[in-house]
Chain length 509, copies 2
């Protein structure tokens, strides 16, 4: 391995004030040198967490391999700065993966309101966090535009040049609810860990920025006729099979025509963009997979076809269920862009014991991308046979680009284990697949099947149950955990024998 000092010279930061940003795409020789180093090293395998239970730790998973990639290239400081930023900006998350940082919103702040607090908004990074001074920053726009330009943050924020916009946008990782797929059918363990997300890799914020449409029009004089995709390049470093990249993805130029669907944002919920969320500038693309909303966005490259960046071309592909390690290719999955309708029950939670009087209250979220919005939410208390619709008064208001939070009280007579599930119908009458099995895919993306939870129902309106609960109260004991044995006798022996003699086990003749 090279000495650390030599490595620092080999892959220098590109510009003063842009700490942690290494330019790779403009230097093929640099990519070759990095590949040589990567190939000559052994790396710690990613932790196995699909075929064995997840550890009960926080961080849940440790990204040894991605850290080591950075280390051998002399970029350990990026790893360290990233975790410092987590501790500063997002200390109270469920830290699913420490590096690259993947953090999930805990359940109480997830449903605290239709806007997610910056401190709790989920994060799915693909590399380290660059530390860029706003004054030093500039955005390059190049490719199939009539006039390539470079814009400073001062240019972008100049309302006389570009009209500003604020938009409430729900962003969702396509890995949201992946844990449901993993628990039933393990899949690809990517080099870059596909984190075992629960229902909290979704969040909503109000972003302020400028519509990309306006920037392309006013600063670049529009697009060339052959333009079809807009590539966003981020200052973070990404690795794929021993090649090193700057993060790059793209969206169709057609998407840019809706001014509020693709914005260049510097403000999140009234505050400057946190470093963890892309300071000083990020793309926010409504209605599509979160991976397109590129953070630390420093280059826009207009293309005649989708980006060849590995995040676009080799990741976030949607495969049919017979594709797997035995036959998977990049070209036999299609690229995930628009997000389908989906929803989740957040309260109660899986395996909760719910004591009630004949009705159980549930709360959750519902979302649809691709220009749709959640129109109706339905909850079933019996695994998907009978469905109850959420009253529209009990849903947060509609927006074009956000989720809706909902609450409902569902009649429940049954006791013991019951299965709730939720489905949402969106504005195009799309609804969700019934079972995880219906939509399992090798890369474990887009878990949009009906979210299901099992809870243990204790219906206090039943006399036998009320009597038992009173007995627990009298003894000052808790009925939970239900698996803990009862120390006292369940029934008076005489009563029991009387009942048994009334209905003996065997026929009399």
């Amino acid at each position: 391995m090279e000495s650390s000092a030599m490595l620092d010279q080999l892959f220098p930061e590109e510009k003063p004030g842009w700490r942690g940003y290494i330019e790779w795409e403009n230097y093929p020789e640099r990519k070759e040198a990095a590949a040589k180093i990567l190939l000559s090293n052994k790396f710690t395998p990613s932790p196995e967490f699909q075929l064995v239970p997840l550890p009960q730790t926080n961080p849940v998973l440790v990204g040894h391999r991605w850290k080591e990639y950075h280390e051998v290239l002399g970029l350990r400081r990026i790893v360290d700065f990233s975790w410092e930023t987590v501790l500063k900006e997002k200390p109270d998350m469920i830290h699913l993966l420490d590096f690259p940082y993947n953090g999930e919103t805990p359940r109480a702040p997830l449903l605290a309101g239709k806007i997610t607090d910056n401190k709790y908004h989920f994060v799915r990074n693909h590399g380290g966090v660059p530390d860029i001074d706003e004054d030093a920053f500039e955005l390059e726009i190049t490719g199939l535009v009539n006039t390539p330009v470079k814009l400073t943050m001062k240019d972008l924020k100049d309302a006389s040049k570009f009209p500003q916009i604020t938009v409430a946008v729900t962003l969702q990782c396509s890995g949201t609810r992946r844990i449901e797929q993993i628990q039933q059918y393990p899949g690809d363990g990517d080099e870059l860990i596909n984190a075992p997300w629960g229902e909290g890799a979704i969040g909503t914020a109000v972003y302020r920025g400028v519509p990309l449409k306006k920037v392309l029009k006013h600063a670049c004089g529009g697009l060339k006729p052959e333009a079809r995709h807009v590539e966003f390049v981020g200052a973070d470093t990404y690795f794929k099979k021993n090649t090193v990249y700057n993060y790059a993805v793209s969206v169709p130029t057609r998407k840019v025509r809706q001014a509020d669907e693709v914005i260049l944002a510097w403000e999140m919920n009234g505050a400057p963009l946190p470093k963890m969320h892309g300071f000083p500038l990020r793309a926010v693309v409504a209605g599509v997979i979160g991976a397109r909303s590129t953070k630390w966005l420093y280059r826009i490259n207009v293309l005649a076809e989708p980006s060849l960046g590995p995040v676009q071309a080799q990741e976030y592909l949607y495969y049919t269920s017979q594709i797997g390690k035995h036959n998977v290719k990049y070209s036999n999955g299609f690229s995930i862009q628009n997000m389908p309708v989906s929803s989740a029950i957040i309260f109660p939670q899986e395996k909760d014991v719910v004591v009630h009087d004949g009705a159980i209250s549930l709360r959750g979220w519902a979302y649809s991308g691709g220009g749709n919005w959640p129109q109706r939410v339905e909850v079933s208390p019996d695994g998907g046979h009978v469905w109850y619709a959420v009253d529209e008064d009990d849903m947060t208001e509609k927006h074009y680009h956000t989720w809706r939070l909902w609450t409902i009280s569902v009649p429940v007579d049954a006791e013991g284990w019951i299965e709730f599930c939720v489905r949402t119908w969106d504005s195009s009458c799309n609804t969700e697949p019934t079972f995880v099995r219906s939509a399992w895919n090798w890369d474990l993306h887009v878990t949009s099947s009906c979210h299901r939870i099992k809870i243990y129902s204790i219906n206090r309106s039943k006399p036998a149950t009320a009597a038992r609960l009173a007995e627990y109260a009298r003894r000052g004991e808790s009925i939970t955990p239900i698996t803990r044995p009862v120390e006292w006798s369940l029934e008076d022996p005489v009563e029991c024998l009387t009942q048994r003699r009334k209905h003996p086990r065997e026929p009399v003749d």
Copy 2:
């Protein structure tokens, strides 16, 4: 706590040559003294294994509580002798619970033949193992018989007194396959741990002994008219809610009329009964829950109604699915006796990766109790839509009281995760409930729903799959575990781009 020497005097062994046997039922004052001691002590709670994953250890679970019950009564030597006996007689089992000993048959010996080797036959004990000299042993027969008697082993083995019989009998713990219930819906965590059995709490042996019918007739002059149940009492010590008992259960007298269905056995597969299996004498009751086949059987008590022993009256009860900790009583479950039809796939196993050429071979067992036998076994490769019947040539022969082992090759085109399930139709056309949900019950007994396994199918007859397997072979790599990422590129970039340009992601217009 009393001193150990004082305790030894308080609960002495009843007879010379009967080590580890304490008589409780004949001494109410002894039960009271024991209850006082038990109530004045705190015991380690049973390990929680339903709401958290099972440990990857062998023994899987440690029976601290049951050991401590024995210790405070001065009976630690029983605990020690039991484990010594495990190590001597059953060293290679899956030790589910170390005390009282519960051991499951590993999968290869489980399917080695229709008779299970004594070394591998499952064990579900409810107490410690007594160490009884055959010469000192006697069996007492009492209660509603015309002539109460005591019989030595010499009497019982005297063929001039009682005709001997050999019968092949499958015994099954009603907890077989309990893990399937636990994984979906946790239930009662009894004081005496209800072990998390897989498919191996079933086994078949040829027992030699005498029909109970003949003993009752020839030695006791028959039963009194009001006799309805035959209680078997074992020399092991059982605990229930601070009361101490000798193990006691019963079966209907009607059952005894079939000479080959209830036998008093001293030989197992041609060898003397192992200590772990009841030496010197046990009951073997065909077609019913294994718990009735009392080990270390020293007393038979003929009754007018079922045994009031807690194993009969308060355990092994079958509840409806809305009964649980919130409302359970002894009298609202019915007593489990006859075992229903059930079956299991033993090979392949859950989450196996199976490489094949269009057909997958499966092997397993099928059983029915209650006087029935497995008549037809069917396997589905698609979760229960299409079923293939096992050829009768591929099943072991029928017996009145045993399982049948089966094998089948099922056509499989599909790749990726598929779900196999099995169901058996017995001689009364009974078949199995479809899902675990269909038959879940609070005490987690009788898991007789269709056994389901998920396997990952790799069909070598598919060209893309054959090519990928060849690539693994060329590189000297294994495709398993499937969750481990592939280090090399999945597709040539030019080929990939050609495919993508042929079918672009977005419409042209």
